[in-house]
Symmetry: C2
Subunit: 124 residues, 2 copies
């Protein structure tokens, strides 16, 4: 399992967080994937549980800018800033996501490091 | 276990990576701590095994600059760049470290995300 394949998934993930549907984002995940977002919250196990997380993004106008990306074999850490607009608000969130990949480059686990300090919400 | 206590340990960690002894850095760790540096390598279990990692830094001239820091409860992600000089070489390394803390704010686990791409070595 190569660093290059992991890197491709990370790049595609940040791209789809900005512009993809929930279905497109879920295609990056392995069926047995586990997501903990934010870190310390109840893990979402499997694609149906994970879908809820991205479904809320779908109706929003979004953009995302990658920051630090570190990839080693089937592990990656990526920071990014996502700005979304909808429901009369602009939300800015800047997590560090930690991912592990299977041998097809699909995300096996994702843990998002952020707190309320890394989230701004303002009326527009 | 508070975010504030975790944050204090993270800040102190980056400070000591730049200027501390191995013994000072080890004081930030819980006795049962596990370190995986880089991610995917054999984990170092316990303070004696972890000490080796920091002992090699001691004779070097070092500085470190923190980058992205995300802290939530007893979890943290921190990127930093460390530049060290010694043995006729300058080494620059930029990992993302993922940490979990015990209820005293001591590091229970640290996993360092970096690869050869994030490491530069040049003669001085």
């Amino acid at each position: 399992m190569g660093t290059q394949q992991s890197r491709a998934t990370v790049d595609r993930y940040v791209e789809l967080v900005a512009s993809g549907t929930a279905a497109q984002i879920l295609e990056l995940y392995a069926p047995e994937a586990v997501v903990e977002d934010p870190i310390g919250s109840e893990p979402r196990r499997g694609l149906e549980a994970i879908r809820e997380l991205y479904a809320v993004l779908e109706p929003l106008q979004r953009k995302a800018e990658p920051g630090v990306i570190r990839v080693s074999g089937n592990h990656a850490a990526v920071s990014f800033t996502m700005v979304s607009e909808g429901h009369g608000h602009r939300m800015t969130i800047s997590p560090v996501d930690i991912m592990e990949f299977d041998d097809k480059g699909r995300i096996l686990s994702m843990r998002a490091y952020w707190s309320q300090d890394d989230l701004q919400v303002e009326p527009i």
